[in-house]
Amino acid sequence: MSRATAATLGRGAAFTAVVGGFPFVVHAAWIVNIGVLTLMYAALATAWNLFSGYTGYITLGQAAFFGLGAYTLGIAFEHFGIGSGYNPFYALPLVGIGVAFASLPVAWIALRTRHMTFAIVTLTVLFVVQQLAFNLHSVTHGTTGLMLPTPSFAIGNYDRPFYLAMLAVLLLGLGICWVVLRSKLGLMLLAIREDEEKARGLGIRVTSAKLIAWWLSIALTAMVGGIWAYYLTFIYPESAVDPLVMIGAVLMTFLGGRGTLWGPTIGAMVLVPAQQYTLLQLGASQLYLVGYAAVFMVVLLLLPRGILPSLRSGLARLRERRRTKRPPVIREERAHA
């Protein structure tokens, strides 16, 4: 095992221990609730990054598949009876795989177009799915919404199972990203991001590579949607297919650092608690939307590369400075200044 591998695995183990242990130490429901949302956005952002961060193709339609996952679990509850307690969680991988396969034809059409058009077409898909949720009344109950059975968890630690489920999907996502980044697929995706024509010229099957990344990303997203639906026990078209959820995940990825392993998670851990706090303070008015937009602007305009890449280059510069010994004259000048 190389040093880098060991370091990443160590970081992963430490992260799992600290974040996983958190709800067993802290019991206050509202804090664990924020924890659930933080992990949810971290998982969504990681999934978004897996496709958009690595290929450079920005998708704005992720919320469609989040909603599809939520509705699939809700409809499964209504028609098949997938049990109560922890049992519905075991159905999640099926939900993820199903939604991911169902999304492939759409992705194939969308990927025939290039970057800007692709972003718009995926956004269109979002509105198509929202329309379907409104209109397919017999399965989704339209605007009335879909009720899921209340989970039978103990009142005291009601949020904990959802917290752990979100964490599990996040860890799965991080694991997939890590494997992909070290694999040939990861190299292909980066080649596509840098220069797609050249990548194609080199014999990389660009469409297949993009579709695989897309499939993985959508499967994760749909699973998160499923957990979210079971957690809230009530979904309706505007809440399940919400452009704000998606744009939140994108914002967190940008804040943490696109194309990095931990960036999206870091972005979510910074933004979600802050967002929940402002929501609590300004909840009644729509003012939080303005604040959200302002944060978004600041991140995009001042920190377009994200925290992690900026930090990394900053550290590298610091190390460089330490290695090359400076003449004492400069130090004296500094002391005077």
Partner: protein, 291 residues
């Protein structure tokens, strides 16, 4: 048959207004490769401005175009200078997509704080009147809306083909580097055309506020339609945007009367996806290449 013809007339009238909104979007993309996701929110903002002028100062909504459009031009120029211009590097187009999205959220938030989320509509005295043309009903406001849009689109095309500024714009669309070498001030062209795109949204917004009820959240519905229109027409193509907008109006109106109104918006998305399957670059678009 009568019903279908009636629907086609209605669809064309509505399509004209969408053509006006979409023309600004596609023009801005053609010049600076920026998709202004805030176009829908800017339309709604203009609709509110026109509504405020109408309800407080009794300015006719169609006359308010003359006030709202210059005001929003200034806003557009400011937005370009403050937010859009500072984006550089190879990711700039994608970043601009997100920056303008943030702008849309900001506008939605401000409007919700000021006007709350009640649906509004500007209701001039002639709002319910309609003409009878060979047995077909044509509502007066919709006819005015179409006329206003057609006139403005005509003025836009005159501006682009007959003026010095228009030549500079078209040169920049065709080849930005060559245009700069020939002495076109690219920064100036970009700023002014962004302002122009926003003022087209403004004019359309004043009209929109008369024919549809709106609230701050209406911009999601608008932008999804507008983006579909410009993609169907071919990104950057004005003619394509007009054709696609009229097509969307007609398809939706016909589906609404022949099938069901709930599926009318959906039908257009299906047309779009099917069309992209055959022709990914849209009706008049050129194939986008990675640079």
């Amino acid at each position: 048959m009568h019903q279908v013809v009636q629907a086609v007339i209605l669809g064309l009238l509505i399509g004209g207004v969408y053509a006006l909104m979409a023309s600004g979007l596609t023009l801005v993309f053609g010049i600076m490769k920026v998709i202004n996701v805030a176009q829908g929110a800017l339309v709604i903002l203009a609709a509110y401005l026109s509504y405020a002028l109408f309800s407080h100062l009794h300015v006719d909504p169609f006359l308010s175009i003359l006030i709202v459009t210059p005001a929003m031009f200034v806003l557009g120029v400011t937005v370009q200078l403050v937010f859009v211009r500072s984006l550089r590097g190879p990711d700039a187009p994608e970043l601009s997509l997100l920056v303008t999205w943030a702008l849309a959220l900001g506008i939605e938030g401000v409007l919700s704080v000021i006007f709350n989320t009640t649906y509004r509509v500007s209701n001039p005295s002639y709002a319910d009147r309609s003409w009878d043309l060979f047995g077909y009903q044509v509502s007066v406001v919709r006819a005015f809306a179409f006329l206003a849009s057609a006139i403005l689109l005509g003025l836009l095309s005159l501006l682009l083909t007959r003026s010095r500024f228009g030549r500079a714009v078209r040169a920049t669309v065709q080849n930005p580097t060559a245009a700069t070498l020939l002495g076109v001030d690219a920064n100036r062209v970009q700023t002014l055309s962004f302002g122009l795109g926003v003022s087209l949204a403004a004019a359309a917004g004043a009209v929109y506020g008369v024919i549809y009820p709106f609230n701050p959240g209406s911009h999601y519905d608008l932008i999804s339609r507008l983006l579909s229109i410009v993609v169907l027409g071919g990104l950057g193509s004005l003619g394509g945007a007009v054709v696609a907008a009229l097509a969307m109006g007609v398809i939706q109106a016909v589906v609404a009367v022949e099938f069901s109104p709930t599926w009318s918006a959906f039908s257009f998305f299906v047309v779009l996806l099917t069309f992209l399957l055959l022709r990914p670059q849209g009706i008049f678009g050129v194939r986008e290449r990675t640079l």
